[in-house]
Symmetry: C2
């Protein structure tokens, strides 16, 4: 009797899931679902080759195309494929728009875009229009219009977009997500997160080695300094919100029963990049006279529809150790990544922190338990293995990914909204409802399932 | 030659200090400065008797008057004086306005006010009007009008007001202040602070013991629950900002070359007190039907005139260990009280935190080096010894205290300003300039001097 009841319960849950969960509706493709995902890469710089490496290690992926405007990066990608015993892919990159030719390929199911920020939305929408299952690196969009472009193109084409936010798959984050879902923190109240990473040596280099000393950027720089630094020169905003806000948004069910409502943002004065240039290049270096616009530390606070608040920090020009500064706080307890500490009412000694390791072990996510060994070495402590797994397995079934176009839009919208708020000393800015009201009925994503 | 040059330099600095520093202008008193400060206490509850204890241990204080409406507290204060071998003081408290009779005393130089919040401004302004050197517990004011009352009364009467913010005198805070002044952090950029203290068992008790279980407050409560909890019932604001913002404001020279400009505030939903009442009193307890207005976690961000930002947190209804959450961050480094960690460029191992103990030892404040042994046991880890020392020594000379009427007003203004901002989802609110423009020339306070 007990078994039968369980069986019926399970069946009806699964039935319900299949009938109403968004993204469970299969759409037509040129051919029926392949056993191997035929994958292409737009951009094989440092980030793109990391993804390529993880794709090549999977038996369910065939890399069929690689695109980069830098012949040197194309040749590095070619060598990687050769060494992996993978047949060589078609290459593209004769000019900046050559990726469009790659998207014309019929035998290409999905693409991963790892290019400079200003190309993300353009390439992602072009890929969706070409019917490709699309993965795009963070952030997805630079302006509010671009956020809408992502959503509208997804809705118009039916093509799926996944934002490749790897921190959502970090081992501690997934364990804490597991705890959130099991109610360990009670009802969530307040979250903290951010991108606190001294990037001075990334934004400025010697034009020869990505992380070498030097104070060049733009045309005279190399790697990220070629394109990333101009954002700091011209924009005062949270330029890179998703590593922090992504994990927090998934825990708060943003766009799935909850949503971002308003944001206020404040920036400090601007000192770090100028000081670094003067120190390493001298006061007479031409870059020493530049007026960078990005405040050294940008603080944003978001209000959600369900009454939680989130502090998001952007701190990339100051000397400090790296931290994404996570805090998860609810009516029953609190976890903070800084200090690796946790306090759960009735379980921790009153008024005293526990170290979080035994808690994180106990609530280790099923995916990490199963694939943790494989994941190690994939990059960024294993996160990159899981982001690739989620992308490939979702793409193979052509189902909605765990982080979709609405998430990409809402998370990336922090950049233009914070910019406008900062300009007005913290004036609250409304988030658009990218789901057009459907957040009230969109299903919570099942972060605990073992297969996509 | 070198010695002579130093001597001239020193002399002129001291000369300058004496001629322009505000508060160095002595004002007339009824009699010439006494050797002993004749001190009175308005309010001898838990906080007031702590101050009384510290006053009784000083040889430069004579306690001449004590006022409390609770005869039980008066008798406790009397016993303390007896045990200290101190002659008994006059007592007042036959009704709530009896403190006015005490203020009529001619042989009373100074008063310390440790009463419920709603009495602070009223009593402080009455004391200043009576010509007394006035110390008031935190916060000093509940409304913007009260903030102005403090400033205007100080200016009209010439009586000094000191806000008795003890955390400004905490050993780690004074060491970090020492480091700030010596430029260890470079130019300051961003600060964090707040009052994160689970007060559920303070705001609610059984009416018999201050920290006993129980879910009563107001007329049925005892100690702080008698008066403090109604603020949580009726106001959604940062109700208690000064323990956090005080130390940070002193490091940033607020009102002395810098000032608070704008604030945005956000509150989470309200859960903690209701949940606690239900859990300990049951769903049918009358207090379980109350709708508390205070959001469980209130987040404010302040912009300063000099371009720094400050995050201020108020978090008193949730299970969590105590922390004031200090961060001091500048162009050269960062200190965080949580984790007791510090990073100073070129001195710390790149990208790695140092434990802060050796830094705090090295920059231990001269006052702590000299009086630390005496301070221990004075209450709150020694802070209370130093706040009393600052008050008494400033009052004996009738000079401006380290934390004055302008500071009391600006720091306390966070409560009404945050309240209005929260109501409008973080709308920025302007701080009034309580110094009427004089912050641009008011001298930086010398926190490193050894005597007042």
């Amino acid at each position: 009797m007990e078994n039968r009841r369980n069986f019926i319960k399970k069946s009806s849950i699964y039935g319900l899931g299949l009938s109403v969960a968004p993204g469970m509706v299969f759409k037509k493709r040129d051919k029926k679902v392949t056993e191997k995902l035929r994958l292409g890469f737009i951009g094989v710089g440092l980030r793109g080759t990391n993804h390529l490496h993880n794709a090549l290690s999977r038996s369910d992926v065939e890399v069929v195309a690689v695109c980069d405007v830098d012949p040197n990066r194309l040749s590095i990608a070619g060598k990687m494929m050769e060494e992996a015993g993978h047949k060589l892919a078609k290459t593209f990159g004769k000019d900046e728009l050559d990726y469009l030719r790659m998207l014309e390929m019929k035998d290409l199911d999905a693409v991963i875009i790892s290019t400079p920020w200003l190309w993300h939305t353009r390439m992602a929408t072009d890929a969706m229009k070409a019917g490709k299952y699309t993965g795009v690196e963070v952030s997805a969009a630079n302006t509010m219009e671009e956020c809408w472009d992502l959503v509208k193109t997804h809705e118009r084409t039916g093509s799926h977009l996944m934002l490749l936010e790897n921190v959502c798959f970090r081992r501690d984050i997934m364990a804490v997500m597991n705890m959130v879902r099991q109610g360990i923190f009670g009802e969530l109240l307040h979250m903290r997160c951010g991108y606190q990473h001294d990037l001075r040596f990334v934004k400025l280099n010697d034009g020869k080695t990505p992380y070498g000393l030097g104070v060049e950027f733009g045309d005279k720089g190399i790697s990220e300094s070629k394109w990333r630094t101009r954002h700091s020169l011209k924009r005062n905003a949270d330029l890179y919100p998703t590593h922090g806000v992504g994990p927090v948004a998934t825990m708060l069910d943003i766009n799935r029963g909850n949503r971002f409502m308003t944001i206020t943002s404040h920036a400090t004065k601007t000192r770090g990049l100028h000081n670094y240039i003067v120190r390493h290049g001298g006061t007479h270096h031409p870059n020493a006279s530049l007026k960078f616009k990005l405040g050294d530390i940008v603080t944003s606070t978001i209000e959600t529809a369900n009454g939680e608040t989130i502090i998001v920090t952007h701190d990339t020009n100051s000397p400090r150790p790296y931290s994404l500064g996570f805090r998860v706080q609810g009516t029953k307890g609190i976890w903070e990544v800084d200090g690796h500490r946790i306090y759960i009412e009735d379980q921790s000694k009153p008024h005293h922190w526990d170290q979080d390791d035994s808690w994180l072990d106990r609530f280790d996510h099923p995916l990490w338990k199963k694939y943790g060994a494989q994941a190690t070495g994939a990059g960024h402590g294993g996160m990159d293995y899981f982001v690739m797994k989620a992308f490939v397995e979702s793409a193979l079934q052509n189902i909605a990914p765990p982080i979709d176009a609405y998430d990409a839009a809402a998370w990336s919208a922090i950049t233009p909204l914070s910019e406008r708020s900062i300009e007005h000393h913290g004036m609250p800015m409304d988030f658009p409802d990218f789901t057009k009201g459907r957040w009230i009925k969109r299903d919570r994503y099942d972060w605990l399932k073992d297969r996509y």
